[in-house]
Subunit: 423 residues, 2 copies
């Protein structure tokens, strides 16, 4: 029998009414003949409320206990979803991450999945039950303590279970209609992308598109699990994330799939780094030791007169203070002159597998941005992505300019012929 794994986010199970609506969706798939495994997040604001309680009790709660606390959230939502399904006449059983066999590392708050051994899920499916699994959580291999998976954890749980159960598809339900060519709050004419490749989706996620987390897409690509991103509030077709977007389906691959943006990064410039072998390595080793994820890196050509160079990089702005502290520690050893910090930046990225075969995309992108009078501060590229850093206030205009330039607006859509809207 075909198996579907569904994941519902916090907004999809925000209250009793939402839980009942989700239960009807789940039962509809069961009625259609599928085995169904459902991964749920905590209801709406539960996690924030629990974090608030923790803060009132302790300014720096131990990770083990914070994980114990937060996992209460999914426990509540999964039991309620199971009850609502029972009320529709179908049997549902809820399972914690630990009961579902989600084995993780011991890093509380940001554990990684090591293995998934869903023996109890398989048994329950074989007995005809619908399985409801707590997202975002697991049990550590070493200490058998409860862990949480950090950001994107529920999506990752769903994909990992889909892989372990050899599911036919993993449906990610959310509060938007799918993946869009740009954030519709910035570009009202943005369109839903019916189908996108794992690679493009990875670049979208890494470039600030919040709909799917990087880890989840990476996991899906590694195990070849088709993802179907759609709204739990309507029956619209959503977005498929698959291994290859075939051009044979009468579908002409658009040059650009979408425009992503990210305002959460900051830029640090290390000024006057002596132009000697190994200095850049020392800087990035210090950052790695402090567990800071560096994104874009730009090194200027050194001024011949000084034999010194500037190195700029971007990083999540909430890592800013610890990065500056880590760098100050090695200032004397490396011998750089000073540090500059700017968190008023934004990143705008153009993503599309089509740009592989269309030269000139970079030039058109930069030109479109320049026509808006926007200055480009940093540039980084991959085979299917071009990212630029601009002033934070210029992000919206840059996104809109790029979106329009590559004919992604809905009123330009006739120019691009898409294939089917699903599979």
């Amino acid at each position: 029998m075909a198996l579907i794994v569904q994941k519902y986010g916090g907004s999809s199970v925000a209250d009793a009414e939402a839980v009942k609506r989700v239960a009807q969706r789940i039962v509809a798939q069961k009625k259609a003949g599928y085995d169904v495994v459902v991964v749920v997040s905590a209801m709406g604001d539960t996690t924030d409320e629990l974090l608030d309680l923790a803060e009132q009790v302790s300014p720096l709660p131990p990770g083990r206990e914070l994980d114990m606390l937060l996992t209460a959230g999914e426990r509540i939502s999964m039991a309620l979803v199971a009850m609502a399904i029972g009320n529709l006449g179908y049997e549902a059983r809820s399972f914690t991450g630990s009961q579902a066999g989600v084995i993780t590392t011991s890093l509380h708050g940001n554990a990684k999945i090591i293995d998934v051994t869903p023996g109890r899920i398989k048994d329950a499916l074989a007995e005809g039950a619908i399985c409801i699994v707590a997202g975002f959580q697991g049990v550590s291999q070493d200490s058998k303590d409860i862990t949480t998976l950090g950001r994107g954890g529920s999506d990752t749980t769903a994909v990992a279970l889909a892989a372990a159960l050899n599911a036919d598809v993993c449906e990610i339900y959310t509060d938007v209609d799918g993946v869009f060519t740009a954030d519709p709050r910035i570009v009202p004419s943005a369109r839903r992308i019916p189908k996108i490749s794992y690679e493009e989706m990875l670049e979208m996620a890494a470039s600030g598109a919040k709909i799917l987390h990087l880890r989840c897409v990476e996991y899906a690509r590694r195990y070849g699990i088709p993802l179907h991103v759609r709204s739990s509030f309507n029956q619209k077709p959503g977005t498929w994330v698959v291994s290859e977007v075939e051009e044979t389906e009468g579908m002409e691959q658009p040059i650009i799939s979408g425009v992503a943006h990210d305002r959460s990064e900051a830029k640090i410039t290390v000024v006057g780094v002596p132009d000697r072998v190994g200095e850049a390595a020392a800087i990035f080793k210090a950052l790695a030791d402090a567990e800071i994820n560096v994104d874009m890196i730009v090194q200027n050509v050194s001024a011949a007169s000084t034999s010194r160079t500037d190195i700029s990089f971007t990083l999540p702005s909430d890592s800013g203070q610890s990065a500056l502290a880590a760098l100050k520690k090695i200032q004397d050893k490396v011998g750089f002159e000073s540090l500059l910090y700017n968190d008023r930046i934004g990143k705008v990225s153009l993503i599309g597998a089509g740009m592989r075969s269309y030269p000139g995309v970079t030039a058109r992108f930069f030109d479109a941005v320049a026509r808006q009078g926007i200055n480009i501060d940093m540039i980084s590229t991959s085979e299917i992505r071009i990212s630029i850093v601009v002033e934070q206030d210029d992000v919206d205009a840059a996104v809109a300019a790029a979106h329009s330039e590559f004919q992604l607006d809905a009123d330009q859509v006739e120019a691009v012929v898409y294939g089917g809207t699903g599979r």
Copy 2:
């Protein structure tokens, strides 16, 4: 090292401030050199809120899922208590019932503890940590599903852990100062009982005193665990529940320990039961099959003219409807005439090991009640208890009359010499 098991009820951990106060109490015992294991209930209204959510989703939620839902409550409180202790510089680790080795039957909502295998608790104690354990919950031996223990479950968890860990004492923290000679809301001059035997406490609990649940006291008696009932809001000495209240400590055993009352019962009279062998058995078998707990039973002498008799019994009034239904099913077979139902009754019980050696207690009790013009409807006695059933509106007056008659009022206390207030 001496080991203390403490249990804090929902009102003792009702909010962040209460959690911090409890943490200080726990740390004080640790500082005093004890190993400490703490059992916590869900915070204040959490259980009611979760039940309300369940009701919104399903009118009759499956027991398995209701247990999964409700156990989120203790998960939250235990993590918060552990965090608050960590904030005071001591290591605390929280454990679910399952992690603490509380193995139960599979009866969701009212599971019984089969075994306690607290291996992880012992390890954590050996490493110097304070252990925080979720009360009210366990894991079923057969299906490995999460269960709850029903009423009094957290107290029972604490006593069961104390027995399995061979603890020196089990402290039950609550929002009152201990066990009183009567409910202080009815008898303002009621006094705290400094020390009481398991047997008397069992009779108190069975007679409606709500401070300790019957199961918890039974468990403590079976394993000889001294219970210390006290308030988490002050440092008052509370009440000790122990195997024997020695008369050797310069303490004269009072005749009566206390007066308990219970308004939660109803009375059913089976009218005109044929006076044949086995008819009463048939009636009570039907009730037992419907899992109804019958309390007091009175059978009238049969009227010689009719060869029929009336049988009256009391039962929890929330079982009233199912009891009537069970009896109606056997009406034709047994051949009784009719059923009478009265839920406007109340039970008043006099409890005291001293009444063993003081004849005339019954007469004094009945006389004191009669002087208030109160009619006695049913009577039942044990070696250390006398219970009467009266009109519900007469309960307060009957309690006050008995309390005064046996010199339990605070202004009469000089007449009775108590021993020490602790151990």
